[in-house]
Every structure is written in structure tokens, then in C-alpha cells.
């Protein structure tokens, strides 16, 4: 709760920077080194990175290029917050985190040298969704290809992506599931799939519908939306890909799609979600793998699957309103 920016914006502030140091070629383990400096009100994180290199240790390494927030090279994490170094005011972060700032690469386990990481997984996953317009182009068109403002509006936000990797390396699923394509790839898949010139929408929807790699493995943590320095809002694009998979009949009946669709079935019946039924309905025979957890819940008296008197599902008051609204508002079925 450090809302001190009004009183401090004109002064320099002393900060100690704990920077992640590692050279994959010579170091067995990474370590942190502390650098003290006075930070002016207009200095950016990139300025501090430069000052570490120029004033303290010439071997300190980081990526930098355009210096105006478009090349996407200088992304790091400061106290866990993904930032684009060249756009992030340093004193703002001192307000937020106090006078000790921790500089780390976007992913410490992919560190090559200090702030520099191997972004290979990012690029191969990005490429996997074919992030470009696929179409037969007439080399001698008689007129320009026109797009309506609405059509542009559809993908404009996603088009702001600069592939900096902030969302990708903020995503917790990327850390635990190496097949998962990740939020930046999904935002790109969405961007080109709603481009009116493109003809590969179905192919991309199929790629992003795969269990394990696709959007159904998103944990909905909103880390990507929070991380993006360009407000691409990747999770919103993930939701749109989910919707498009159903609209285009790409969604196959599996545990994940039935889980989503099963909500309508439950709400229609009770207003509430039938928590036991949704697991049974989504999993089918696969439900046996939840047996040990089910037994634990029964033991704690949380659920009563075998006691019909106690199992009684709650019902929303005015349930008929809900049923009518579902009937007149639903846009499709699985």
C-alpha cells in the first residue's frame, strides 16, 4: 500500500538492486549480486541495467535494442513482475516494491547469461500456430483488399503483440507442461484466424483445441493479462478461441469440452452447478480416477452421493426464469 508517488516524484531515490547473475558456460549455479545506486525520477529499468554494466560490471549481460517498446527484446522480471525494461519507470517500481529491487531474467531456468534467456521454446510454439496470413495471393489484383473498421477492430488488440515473452514466461502452465503452446501463441492464433484474408482458421482452431497443447489446458490465472506490456489481454483471446472452436464445430466431445458444456445442463436443472454430476458427465468412465478424492469428501461429510435424502441438490429460487433465459439466450450446442 505504498502510494507515495505524489511526494517523491521530483527526487532521486536510493535503491539496492539484487541482480541475478549466471553464465551457463562457466558457472555451476546462479547467484545474486547487489548494486547500490541513486535513481532519478525519469530513469527506466533499462537505464539501471545500463548503469550496472557501465558503472559496475562490464560483463553484466542483457538484451536491448529499440529502446521504444517495439522490439520486445528487453523483457525481464522485477520482483516477480514482468516488465519491458525500456518502458518501465524505475521509481514506480520502488513505490510498488520498496527500495530493494530484484532483477531476474523472464525464466531463471532458461538463463544463458544474466538477464539473457534461451527463448527457443517461445519461438517454436509461436511458429506452431502459423502466425501469418495464409491465402492464395493474386499477384496482380485489380483492386486493393479492403477491410472494414469492425474487421480490423477484431484483431487490432492482438496485433499489438511484440513477442516479448512477458506473458509466456509469466504463465504457470508453461513451467509444468512442455507441450502447452502458451498465451502469446494463442493470441497470435486468434489474431490471424479472425483476419478476413486468412484461410487457415480451422487448422489453427484444431491445433489450439488439442488437449495438452491447446487452450483447454489454460488454468485461467490471468497472469498473462497482467504481464502484457501492450495490453494484448491474451486470456481474452484464449476465451475467444474456445468460443470459436464450438462455433466452427472443431470442438470434439472430450472431458474439457463436456466440462464447459455441462454447466448449461446443470444450471438448467438446478440453477446451481451440480458439482458431482459435472465430474461424472465430463469424465464418463474416467471418473474412477477421482475415486480417492471422492472417498475423502464423503468421509468429511462434504458430499453424500449414496444418501438421497442428504444429497438433495439446492435449487435456485425462480428456477423457471433461469430455464427460460437459457432457452432464449443460448447461442449453440455441443
Amino acid at each position: 500500500m505504498s502510494d507515495t508517488r505524489q511526494t517523491t516524484t521530483t527526487e532521486t531515490r536510493r535503491v539496492s538492486i539484487k541482480a541475478f547473475r549466471y553464465n551457463a558456460e562457466t558457472d555451476y549455479l546462479p547467484y545474486y549480486k547487489t548494486y547500490e545506486m541513486e535513481v532519478g525520477k525519469d530513469e527506466l529499468i533499462l537505464d539501471l541495467l545500463n548503469r550496472i554494466k557501465w558503472e559496475h560490471d562490464g560483463s553484466f549481460s542483457y538484451r536491448r535494442s529499440c529502446r521504444h517498446g517495439i522490439c520486445g527484446a528487453c523483457g525481464i522480471k522485477v520482483n516477480g513482475k514482468p516488465v519491458l525494461s525500456c518502458k518501465q519507470n524505475a521509481q514506480d517500481l520502488i513505490d510498488l516494491f520498496g527500495d530493494e529491487l530484484v532483477f531476474e531474467p523472464q525464466s531463471t531456468k532458461r538463463a544463458v547469461k544474466d538477464m539473457i534467456i534461451d527463448k527457443g521454446d517461445f519461438w517454436s510454439k509461436h511458429a506452431a500456430v502459423k502466425p501469418y496470413v495464409q491465402t492464395e495471393v493474386d499477384p496482380h489484383p485489380e483492386s486493393e483488399t479492403l477491410m472494414s473498421p469492425e474487421q480490423v477492430e477484431n484483431f487490432l488488440e492482438a496485433d499489438y503483440c511484440i513477442q516479448c515473452g512477458a506473458c509466456h514466461y509469466a504463465c504457470p502452465v508453461i513451467e509444468v507442461n512442455e507441450d502447452y503452446l502458451g498465451p502469446a501463441a494463442f493470441a497470435a492464433a486468434y489474431r490471424f484466424s479472425v483476419d478476413p484474408r486468412d484461410e487457415a482458421k480451422i487448422e489453427r482452431l484444431e491445433t489450439t483445441a488439442e488437449l495438452g497443447a491447446g487452450v483447454w489446458d489454460c488454468v485461467k490465472c490471468f497472469e498473462c493479462a497482467e504481464a502484457c506490456p501492450k495490453d494484448v489481454n491474451p486470456i481474452e483471446k484464449i476465451t475467444k478461441l474456445h468460443n470459436m472452436q464450438f462455433e466452427e464445430h472443431v470442438a470434439e466431445r472430450n472431458v474439457a469440452t463436456k466440462h464447459a458444456e455441462g454447466f448449461v445442463r446443470s444450471i438448467k436443472k438446478f440453477g446451481y452447478l451440480d458439482e458431482q454430476d459435472i465430474v461424472l458427465y465430463s469424465e464418463g468412465l474416467g471418473v474412477v480416477k477421482h475415486l480417492s478424492e471422492a472417498l475423502k469428501m464423503i468421509k468429511a461429510g462434504k458430499v453424500h452421493p449414496f444418501d438421497l435424502a442428504k444429497k438433495k441438490m439446492p435449487r435456485s429460487k425462480n428456477l423457471e426464469e433461469i430455464q427460460k433465459l437459457i432457452e432464449i439466450s443460448k447461442t449453440h450446442e455441443l
Binding site: 487490432l156 495490453d231 474456445h242 458439482e275 439446492p314
Partner: protein, 321 residues
């Protein structure tokens, strides 16, 4: 202080597998003299899964829920992070998209309702902290939690996205905010907008820590407190879910937590119920009681064991009372 009164949107979980959440919420309100009117007409919020399947239907159903709070002329409070976010994302959409609001209201009119946008929607955690006040809560403590190291687990949907948190979970009365709708507006500003982090910083949240301190418990400082528990992929990707919940639980245990507390029943279920399978996957035994936020408050306020409902916690928690 004038009597606080809210419309309580319980969500599904509190009415089904976590009865202890509802009973402890009602007990805390009673002890503090807060009046909660249950929204029995409300339906499921869709928990982000209905949104994946049928976005428009989810807007209609969530708008209907808010209508019932508006009809009572009361601010709405939620006791589930996911209910909170899905409800305010609907509110956000309808309050800023007149065309969509009209489309939704056309459907609602069929059942005699109209969404107006007059009720605020906040998580009960922030109503307690910002409306009732931590100092006032501290005065009501009869059983200080001073012998516990308590690991706060915030849960994603209360703290992210931060601009939504800032607009909706913030201290009332709300001023005029223009901090972007997540729609590229930030591009047009010279400097990043940091104001959205002033009520709760998703990278270093403090609300639950401060609540624990007010109850005289010792908040555990650990990295995973603002991370994801993995609940939403538990069916299709249990390995992901176990890895995330297990890592957070072990992080809390390694920082000497005696118990964990969370304002979200979905986090609570996942972290409480899956300890054995997460432990198996990660190769370490995991045992840590996980309480709902109102259960913890109810403990400190001296509510009855029936109300606190520790017997419903899967990982043994009855020893805490």
C-alpha cells in the same frame, strides 16, 4: 458505524461441497453485526467454463444475478474469487458496451428483469477490510490466533486482472476511474499506469496478510501466495493442477506454515482435497490444513465449532479450534 448490509451471492460451492464456507461467513457477519441478505434466486456464475462455451448466455445469467441485488438496492458481496471475477467481468462488459447491455436486457425483459448497473460487486474479504475495518475486527477478537503461522493464499481471481480488481474490489465510494479496459488504452499513455496497484498489488498482495495480523496471527511470507492453484484444469490436466497446488503447499510448509487460508473455495477445495495426490506426484508428503477466510475469522471471533465447520475440512483441521 452504521450497520453494514449486503446482498450475499453464495455461488454453488458454498451450498454444496463447502457448507463450512457458508456457515462461517454467516457466523462472522452475525458476530460483527453485518447484515447479509442471501440471494437465493441467483444461479451459477459459469465459473469461466460456461464463458468458454457460450459467452452470451453467461452474460445473461450473471446479469440476472446482479439484478436481484439491484432490486434490493444493496451492494453485492461474493465469497468465491471466481464468482467475483465472473460477475464483475459481466458488469464491466455491460456498463461499457451499451449495445450488449441492450441485447442482454432484451432477454432479461422476458422474465421481467432489467440490468441497470446500480449495485457494486465486491468480495466479502474487501468488505470486511475496507468497510468494517481491520481495527474494528481486532477489537472483536476473543481467541487471538497468535500461536499460528498462517500462510495467506490469495487466489487469482480476486487480484488479477489488477484493473478489474482496482475498479470493483476497491474502497467505496468509487471515484471516476479511467485506467483502461484492457483494450490497448495503455499504449496511448507515456508512462505505465501504476495506480491500479494501489489497492492490491497482484505481485505483492497484502490484504489477507493484514487480516491475519488483525486476528493476531503471524502471516507467512512465501513466494507462492499470489500463484495459481490449478483448480480450473483439474479434470483435463490433473498433473498441471497437482504440480501447481503441491508446489504452493510445499512452499508454505517450507516456510513453517501451520495452516493456509484462502478467500476462494475453489482454491480451498483443490489445496485441501488434493494433498495426497499432489504429494505423490511431487514425491513429498503434504499435510497442511487449509481454511476458508471466514473460517479463520470465525475462529478468532469465538464462533461455535458448528459454525466454523472444521469437521468438513478434508485435511484434518479440528485441532485448530
Amino acid at each position: 458505524m452504521s450497520k453494514l448490509k449486503y446482498a450475499l451471492y453464495t455461488g454453488c460451492t458454498a451450498r454444496e461441497s463447502t457448507p463450512e464456507l457458508l456457515s462461517s461467513t454467516l457466523a462472522v457477519a452475525e458476530k460483527l453485526g453485518i447484515e447479509l441478505v442471501l440471494l437465493d434466486e441467483a444461479s451459477c456464475c459459469g465459473a469461466s467454463h460456461l464463458q468458454d462455451f457460450d459467452e452470451f448466455l453467461s452474460l445473461v445469467l450473471n446479469a440476472r444475478n446482479i439484478c436481484y441485488a439491484e432490486k434490493l438496492g444493496l451492494p453485492m458481496v461474493t465469497i468465491c474469487n471466481t464468482c467475483q471475477l465472473n460477475t464483475v467481468m459481466t458488469k464491466e462488459r455491460l456498463d461499457h458496451d451499451p449495445e450488449m447491455k441492450a441485447k442482454v436486457n432484451e432477454k432479461l425483459a422476458e422474465v421481467g428483469l432489467e440490468y441497470k448497473g446500480t449495485s457494486s460487486v465486491r468480495h466479502f474479504l474487501y468488505a470486511l477490510i475496507d468497510d468494517y475495518g481491520l481495527e474494528n475486527i481486532r477489537e472483536k477478537v476473543v481467541k487471538p490466533l497468535s500461536h499460528f503461522n498462517i500462510a495467506p493464499f490469495y487466489g487469482c481471481h480476486n487480484i488479477r486482472p489488477s484493473h478489474i480488481h482496482y475498479k470493483h474490489n476497491n474502497v467505496p465510494p468509487q471515484g471516476e476511474y479511467d485506467i483502461g479496459e484492457g483494450g490497448g488504452e495503455m499504449l496511448h499513455h507515456e508512462e505505465p499506469l501504476m495506480e491500479k496497484y494501489t489497492h492490491e498489488n497482484p505481485y505483492a498482495p497484502t490484504s489477507l496478510d493484514r487480516l491475519i495480523e488483525a486476528l493476531e496471527g503471524k502471516p507467512v511470507e512465501y513466494e507462492s501466495k499470489n500463484k495459481c492453484c490449478g483448480f480450473h484444469v483439474d479434470l483435463q490436466a490433473p498433473e498441471t493442477s497437482n504440480a501447481l497446488s503441491g508446489t504452493a503447499l510445499l512452499d508454505a510448509i517450507d516456510h513453517e506454515a501451520d495452516l493456509m487460508v484462502t478467500p476462494c473455495p475453489l482454491c480451498q477445495l483443490n489445496m485441501d482435497l488434493k494433498q495426497e495426490s499432489a504429494g505423490k506426484q511431487l514425491g513429498r508428503e503434504i499435510e497442511l490444513p487449509v481454511l476458508h477466510m471466514p473460517q479463520m475469522v470465525a475462529l478468532a471471533l469465538g464462533c461455535t465449532p458448528e459454525q466454523i465447520g472444521l469437521k468438513y475440512n478434508v485435511t484434518k483441521a479440528t485441532q485448530l479450534a
